[in-house]
């Protein structure tokens, strides 16, 4: 429930998510990942002939995450989800790097879609934005353009670029601190500076901007931007992707 100006933060923060997948294993693992986001509770269910849940007492869901590798049956599932949890927001998580997710997510009235090529951090940011703003970051990532990387790099200091590469590789802050032999607080400061210099408001947006510029993750973070131009999208905003 969104409250007026004086509303307590923890109240706005609490968000319940239901994760649905055809694979019980994947649903459960994704739900565990979702639970790691502060202020988020998660349950999981399995998409079969009927929806099966482990937790019968699961209350209202704010967000419903549907993980799927095919479009089959997703329309009917969305109708069912809406009848179970009126007012819930649906996010699609598609396996095919987004090839068909955009249309499907708009067809079922989802707030947006994510490719499973994004990292766990991206998911956390997307959940937060979907819950708070009712949309996903609508960003377009074109295949890497090396020349842009140089221009991009000139915006940041060498150390900030190093930190950003680690982020692109999907490493959490504590791990970055270890890898670069600096404290978590220093990492936080670097990240804040990166956001300011890139004129973006979240790590997720910074990552999208970095990818668009063709920045490679270090050392293992190459998500291969050449496969598909987009990694996520918002059906609610419906901005035209730039080519």
């Amino acid at each position: 429930m969104q409250q007026a100006d004086g509303g307590r933060r923890e109240r706005n923060d609490s968000c319940s998510v239901v994760v649905l997948s055809r694979s019980p294993m994947v649903a459960e693992a994704l739900a565990q990942l979702v639970r790691r986001t502060a202020g988020v509770g998660a349950a999981h269910g399995v998409i079969g002939d009927t929806l099966a849940f482990d937790d019968q007492d699961w209350g209202p869901a704010h967000l419903v995450l549907i993980e799927t590798s095919s479009q089959d049956g997703i329309q009917a599932l969305a109708v069912h989800v809406r009848s179970l949890w009126p007012g819930s927001r649906i996010i699609l998580v598609g396996r095919d790097r987004g090839a068909w997710c955009e249309r499907l997510s708009s067809d079922i009235g989802a707030v947006g879609w994510l490719s499973s090529a994004v990292t766990g951090q991206h998911l956390a940011e997307a959940l937060e934005l979907a819950h708070v703003a009712g949309r996903l970051p609508d960003l377009v990532i074109d295949p890497p353009r090396p020349r842009e990387e140089a221009a991009f790099a000139s915006l940041l200091t060498a150390r900030e670029l190093q930190v950003l590469r680690q982020l692109v590789a999907g490493h959490p802050a504590e791990e970055i601190a270890q890898r670069l032999h600096i404290s978590s607080n220093t990492v936080r400061t670097h990240v804040q500076n990166i956001l300011r210099r890139l004129d973006v408001h979240s790590q997720f947006e910074a990552l999208m901007v970095a990818r668009r510029a063709g920045l490679r993750g270090a050392p293992t973070g190459d998500l291969d931007g050449s496969q598909s131009g987009r990694w996520c999208g918002s059906a609610a905003v419906r901005a035209r992707p730039r080519r």
Binding site: S23, P24, M25, E28, L33, S116, G170
Partner: protein, 224 residues
């Protein structure tokens, strides 16, 4: 009882699923030493970190899970391998077993099935779904029989015919074989006919397949 947690490497081509499995497995008391999304990273990290168990998603790229498993096993390090596929896949299971995997699982089970499979292979047990075991054993026995039969037929070849087979399996045509062996094309044709007949196959293609399937040429190199 205090035992150190099982150290696990997770390799999944989808980073989001990798992160999800990392979270799910960590919450079940396992230690995730690395989480990678490429097969070459999986091999490198397995060699560097020597995890107790490497969990490989079947859809791994650029090399698939089977070749990744073979590469990890070739290092002779004490790393157990568990291959996980989207759906039950009997062919993949056979290939995985031949590549030396310690376990195989599909994702239709619950997370606890994955956790217990990891503990099982860590303890040195083979972990194969019992429902798939029958077909697997039959395929392995069949393959063994086919192999015995192929070797037996190969033994019927004369030394010269074995030479011809080696060149044929290497993709040479009759002209090239004739040049190599310094005989006439006509002689090569006769040799090839005899090879086909003795191996009980009907085309050069089949000969090449048979030779490659059972390593007939490499296996007997240097043996007359």
């Amino acid at each position: 009882m205090t035992t150190s947690p099982v150290r696990v490497l997770v390799a999944d081509s989808d980073p989001l699923l990798g992160a999800a499995f990392r979270a799910g497995l960590e919450d079940n008391g396992l230690e995730i030493v690395a989480c990678v999304d490429r097969s070459d990273d999986a091999v490198r990290e397995a060699r560097r970190l020597v995890p107790d168990v490497a969990v490989l998603a079947a859809e791994l790229s650029p090399g698939d899970a089977v070749s990744t498993c073979a590469a990890i096993k070739a290092s002779l390090l004490p790393v157990r391998v568990l291959i996980v596929s989207e759906r039950p896949d009997q062919e993949l299971l056979l290939a995985a077993v031949e590549a030396g995997t310690d376990g195989y699982l599909d994702r239709s089970g619950r997370l606890e099935a994955l956790v217990s499979a990891i503990h099982k292979v860590h303890a040195g047990e083979a972990c194969i779904p019992s429902a798939m075991l029958g077909v697997l054993l039959r395929s392995l026995i069949e393959r063994r029989r086919d192999e015995d039969s192929a070797v037996e037929r190969y033994s019927r070849l004369s030394p010269r015919e074995k030479e011809v087979l080696a060149l044929l399996a290497a993709g040479m045509d009759n002209g090239a074989i004739a040049e190599k062996l310094v005989v006439s094309r006509h002689t090569v044709r006769t040799h090839v006919q005899n090879v086909l007949e003795k191996l009980e196959v009907h085309s050069r293609m089949e000969v090449a397949n048979l030779a490659m399937d059972f390593n007939l040429v490499e296996r007997f190199v240097g043996k007359p």
